[in-house]
Structure formats: structure tokens, C-alpha cells
């Protein structure tokens, strides 16, 4: 009997398929679990919900920059609003300019309400959610955006 002309063989069987199937199922489950690991369950570092103190300390018409928190808090007749000072282009911190905000990295410019008036920025500076904590302090949640023009009334 020559090996050059071997008989056809068929090794498929229920056992083979079941064991191979369960092996790949195990592999898949394990991979799914392992892929969950790199995604942090809780973000390290201080919370990005900033307590800015009692609302009374900001007079109507005022504008307060919080450099560490990367936001500017405004109060006008209609209420409070906060604008992020992180450029929507590639994340540099914008500086206050004559007519609004200007980004030093790639020349984006925004007006004082955050709308783009020049440069590569694709969208206006985000307006951040303003709310109050349970104890009455003003809170800005830098992780939540609100539509432009939203005011928080105290």
C-alpha cells in the first residue's frame, strides 16, 4: 500500500466538533474577559465634578476663570453657564483673547460664547453642565456637555 495514493479519511465526528467548539467558546469568553481589563472601571485622579462654592459669591455679569479645572464660569441675567477652555481641535487649553478665546496650538479662535470664528476647530467650545450639590454649592460637571445657551438658574 503506497502512501502516495492514500485512502480518503474523514475524522469529523460529533466529539471532535463539540470539543473544538467548546474550546473556541472558552477562548472567546476568556478573550472577552481579558479585553475588559484595560478599560478602567473608575477613572483615576480627582473627580471632574467641581464644586465651586456657594452661588452667591459670583455676581451677575461676572466671569471667573478656573485655571486648574480648565473652565470659565459666567453669570448673566439669565443664570450661570460654564464654558470649557479645552480646544475642540486637539485638546490644547485656550487663552482668553480680546474677542473671545484663542488656541495657541493651531490657531483656532472662538468668540466669547465659544462659537468657532476661525482656525481648524470643528465645533464650538463645549458648554458644561452646571448644577448644585446637595448642600447647595454650585457644581460644574466637566464630563457632561449641555447645548449652547443653556443657563442654570439659581
Amino acid at each position: 500500500m503506497s502512501r502516495l495514493d492514500p485512502p480518503r479519511i474523514n475524522r469529523r465526528s460529533f466529539l471532535s466538533l463539540a470539543s473544538l467548539g467548546s474550546f473556541f467558546a472558552a477562548l472567546g469568553t476568556a478573550a472577552a474577559g481579558m479585553l475588559r481589563l484595560p478599560n478602567p472601571a473608575v477613572l483615576p485622579g480627582p473627580v471632574r465634578r467641581f464644586k465651586l462654592g456657594p452661588p452667591e459669591q459670583f455676581s451677575p455679569g461676572s466671569e471667573t476663570a478656573f485655571a486648574e479645572q480648565n473652565l470659565v464660569l459666567f453669570r448673566d441675567d439669565q443664570g450661570f453657564y460654564a464654558i470649557s477652555s479645552t480646544c475642540t481641535h486637539l485638546g490644547c487649553t485656550v487663552a482668553r483673547s480680546k474677542d473671545g478665546f484663542a488656541c495657541p496650538c493651531h490657531g483656532s479662535r472662538f468668540d466669547s460664547k465659544g462659537s468657532v470664528i476661525g482656525g481648524p476647530a470643528p465645533r464650538p467650545l463645549p458648554w458644561l453642565e452646571v448644577s448644585r450639590a446637595a448642600n447647595g454649592d454650585l457644581v460644574v460637571n466637566a464630563d457632561n456637555e449641555v447645548p449652547e445657551g443653556t443657563r442654570y438658574r439659581v
Partner: protein
């Protein structure tokens, strides 16, 4: 032909199924059975019930089931307590069950969780996400959660206890007072001041359970529980403890335990310190002298009592002399007392109290001498002897009359050790002669030259004195070696 790999395929099937099973089990365990998730769902329900106005509805809408933490890099803390204690800063949550309840008092107004975290005050394992591991009574963590009433111990991390309102730190205030009343400083050093018989207590609060003997302690085996039990019964917690039972009530023990736990030299960023804390540190460098009576009360009282009578000490196995007795202060010179206080009595339990040893200021030593001598005649009656003594005759007299109490070679026993070098240096001939002649009222030392029936004549006393002076020459080295071993409490805490 039999299939050679059939067994392996069966094995693969079984192993793979087991693997899938345990992976799914682990996933369910982590994602659906986690304690904090259950707690947060409960809290969500509470929020729903309380969502009666706009603010309530806003808070409900904002609530998300997720891990929460206060990360305070300046304090090296990542406290996840707020993952379960969700209502900690919500004033509406006063009527709900723990862990949802509002933090009591107005503490959080000035100590927001975002800036201070939780563990800087409460201890416990902030990183944990289950109550058992956060409480850390029986897990591997150095600083378990303090019981609520003992938490005031940590206020002094940033505050000067003396400047805080006493009603806010009742136990701590009581503990501080008790420490002075019970004269703990007689044996223990705190802030560089105190005796050397017991361990210094400066960093007592930083100790972990591994530094304390837990064998006889009923669980929980925590440092706070150890302190509490130890103040009730030192010998019951630490076998062979030299410490006298301070005889305190349960509440007093609690107060002392809180005071001990507050003794922790923690490095806290300056921005966290209350201004009075900085003042307190300055004050510690430039202390105001205490009065003589205060010094006596805090640093002498534990051994000498009120000082009028000598007393037999069971733990020390020797007499503690009466240091305010009339007969002593009428014969002892100021210099004699000062030398004994500043240098101690090597070979006995009396430690040195000079500025570089027990930490008493020169003014305080002067003050306490005044206090000891209060009521003594200003010019003690001292008679000098001009006779020459014969030491060998002195020895036979000593053996007959003195060695019974003062020991062979004057090494002490029932009565003080008169061979020891400080005594030999400090006691003048007049002092020794006066003491032998007149004895010590209030102690076992009799007068050897009572006018009605003198035991010893002047020549005899001169002989004894001559013999005693030879002891000073012989001893020296031995005495110092002995002092070292005696002043460390044998079998004390590790």
C-alpha cells in the same frame, strides 16, 4: 485501529466546558453580585422616593450606578467609601439606613470629601469596595476603621487639641487630663518628656497590630481594641507587664485609648494643617515651664505617691523612698536633690530627669525641688564630724546594723542603694551623718543616735561613713551596667 486521541478529545471537551463555566461564574460574580452595586441600586430607590421637588428629581436623574472615589493625591488616599455611602453629603438622607445616611454633624461643611477623603479621619481601607475589607478588622491592613466614638482621635492630625471646642472632642480632652492625673509621664515619654520605665508613646497611634501582643486579646484584634483592653488591665493583655493597673472606668479607658491613638506623627501637607497646629508645633519647641506641683503630679506621683511615706512596690520589689518627708528635706541639701533628680539613681527605677534625659526644664527642676522642700526648715541642722573613720570597723558595724535593709555592699534591697554612684557623689558627709543619727521619719530607717539610747557613737558613725565611701570606689562600673538592664522594662511590649 482504536482511535488514540479519543480520550484527549473527551478531556478537551470537559476542560473547555469547565473553563467556560468558571469564566461565566467569575463574570457574574464580579458584575452582578458585587456588594456596591446592590447598595447603589438601593440608593437609587431611596432617591426615587425622595424625588418630590425639582432638586430631588435633578439628583435622581444625575445618579449613575458606577464606582465612585475621592482621590486625594496630597494625602496619598484613594477613598472609595463614597461608592456605598452615596448620601453622605445629601442633607435629606438623615432618616435612612446606613450606608446611605448623611454624615452626622456639620463636619463635611469644612471638610468636603473631595478635598479630605474619608480615611484621613476614619482610617480603614479606602481602596476597598466591600464593607468587610473597608473596615479591615480581619484583613491585611494596618489601620482598621475606628469606631465612631473614637474617630475624634484623628482630629489632632491637623488641629491642636487644646484649641478645639472640648464638647467636640470630649474623649480626647478627658484622655489628655487623665494622662496627667494618672501621672503616666512618670514612666512614659511623650514629646521628649517623661520617665524611661515604659516605652515612649510619641507614635503610639501609628502602631500596627503586629507591634502589639494580641494573644490574650478578645477579637477584634485591632490597635484600638488593644488600647482599650490594655488600659482596663495591662497585665491581662501583656503578660509580665511592668505597668501598674491605672484603675480606670470603661469610659476613662476609652478616653485614654483615644488619646493614645491621637499620638501619630503623620506627615500632612501644610495646606491641610489648621493654623493652631503650626502654633502647637512651635510651642512644643519652646515649652512653658510647669509649676513644681504640676511637675510632681505628672512625673513623680506614679511611684512616689504623695511623697510623705516610703512605700513597698510590689512590681519593683523594693521600697520607693518618701521624698517629701520632713526628715529627708530637712537634711537633704538642694544640691543633693537636684543631683538625684537630674541624674537619677542608677541601679534603681529612678530615671534621670535632666533636660537631655527625662526632658524637664531647669526651671521645672528648681520648681519641683521647691515643691519637695515646701515646709522644710530653711537651714537644715547639719553637724560635721571631724573624727577619722576606720573602714574595717565600719564594715562590721554596717553588716550588723545596715546590710539587712541596704544589702551587702550597699547594693540595695528593702532600702535605697547607697553604694550607687549618684548617691555617693551627691550625698555630702553631713547628709549621711545626719541621716544615720536622726533616721527618716515615715520610713523604716531608724535613728541610730537617739538621745535616750544611742545605738552608735560618733566614732562608730565616722567608721560607717568611711566604709560607705569605699563602696563608691568599688562600684562605679557595675552600677551603671545594672542600671541599663533595670530601667528597660523586662518582658514589656516588643
Amino acid at each position: 485501529m482504536k482511535d488514540p486521541s479519543r480520550i484527549y478529545r473527551c478531556l478537551l471537551l470537559v476542560a473547555s466546558l469547565v473553563t467556560v463555566g468558571y469564566l461565566v461564574g467569575a463574570a457574574v460574580h464580579e458584575n452582578y453580585l458585587a456588594q456596591w452595586k446592590v447598595v447603589q441600586h438601593q440608593y437609587q430607590d431611596i432617591l426615587r422616593q425622595k424625588a418630590t421637588d425639582d432638586r430631588g428629581r435633578e439628583l435622581l436623574a444625575k445618579f449613575r450606578v458606577e464606582m465612585k472615589q475621592a482621590s486625594i493625591p496630597a494625602l496619598g488616599a484613594v477613598d472609595r467609601c463614597v461608592t456605598c455611602h452615596n448620601g453622605i453629603d445629601d442633607p435629606r438622607m438623615t432618616d435612612v439606613e446606613q450606608p446611605h445616611r448623611t454624615h452626622p454633624g456639620h463636619i463635611l461643611d469644612k471638610h468636603p470629601v473631595d478635598r479630605f477623603g474619608c480615611t484621613v479621619c476614619h482610617h480603614g481601607q479606602g481602596a476597598a469596595l466591600t464593607f468587610r475589607e473597608a473596615k479591615a478588622d480581619d484583613v491585611f491592613w494596618d489601620y482598621p476603621l475606628l469606631p465612631p466614638e473614637m474617630t475624634e482621635a484623628t482630629c489632632v492630625t491637623c488641629h491642636d487639641a487644646e484649641k478645639l471646642p472640648p464638647d467636640q472632642i470630649p474623649l480626647l480632652t478627658a484622655g489628655m487630663k487623665l494622662y496627667q492625673q494618672k501621672s503616666c509621664g512618670s514612666c512614659h515619654k511623650l514629646g521628649g518628656r517623661g520617665g524611661a520605665l515604659g516605652p515612649a508613646l510619641d507614635n503610639e497611634g501609628a502602631k500596627t497590630k503586629h507591634q502589639l501582643i494580641m494573644t490574650s486579646l478578645r477579637p477584634p484584634h485591632t490597635t484600638w481594641n488593644w488600647q482599650l483592653a490594655h488600659f482596663r488591665d495591662p497585665g491581662g493583655v501583656v503578660p509580665d507587664s511592668q505597668m501598674r493597673n491605672p484603675t480606670v472606668t470603661q469610659r476613662e479607658a476609652l478616653a485614654l485609648a483615644v488619646y493614645m491613638l491621637s499620638q501619630w506623627k503623620r506627615d500632612i501637607p501644610e495646606s491641610y494643617l489648621a493654623p493652631d497646629k503650626i502654633e502647637q508645633k512651635y510651642r512644643a519647641l519652646h515649652p512653658t515651664p510647669l509649676t513644681g506641683e504640676q511637675v510632681y503630679q505628672q512625673y513623680c506621683n506614679a511611684c512616689h505617691g504623695n511623697g510623705s511615706y516610703s512605700r513597698w512596690d510590689k512590681k519593683f520589689k523594693r521600697f520607693v523612698p518618701a521624698i517629701r518627708g520632713v526628715s529627708l528635706v530637712s537634711t537633704a541639701t538642694r544640691e543633693y536633690l537636684q543631683a538625684n533628680i537630674e541624674q537619677g539613681r542608677p541601679g534603681t527605677q529612678m530615671p534621670a530627669w535632666g533636660p537631655h534625659a527625662g526632658g524637664l526644664l531647669p526651671d521645672e527642676i528648681t520648681g519641683v525641688i521647691e515643691y519637695l522642700r515646701a515646709g522644710a526648715p530653711t537651714a537644715p541642722a547639719m553637724t560635721a564630724l571631724t573624727l577619722r573613720g576606720d573602714p574595717s570597723h565600719g564594715l562590721s558595724l554596717f553588716l550588723r546594723n545596715c546590710a539587712g535593709c541596704h544589702g551587702m555592699n550597699g547594693r540595695g534591697g528593702l532600702a535605697p542603694e547607697i553604694g550607687n554612684p549618684v548617691f555617693q557623689r551627691a550625698a555630702t558627709d553631713e547628709f549621711i551623718i545626719g541621716t544615720i543619727r536622726n533616721g527618716r521619719v515615715g520610713t523604716a530607717m531608724p535613728a541610730f543616735q537617739r538621745p535616750e539610747a544611742p545605738t552608735l557613737g560618733d566614732q562608730d558613725i565616722a567608721d560607717v561613713l568611711a566604709y560607705l565611701r569605699t563602696l563608691g570606689e568599688q562600684k562605679g562600673r557595675n552600677a551603671i551596667a545594672q542600671n541599663v538592664t533595670l530601667s528597660a522594662p523586662p518582658g514589656g511590649r516588643p
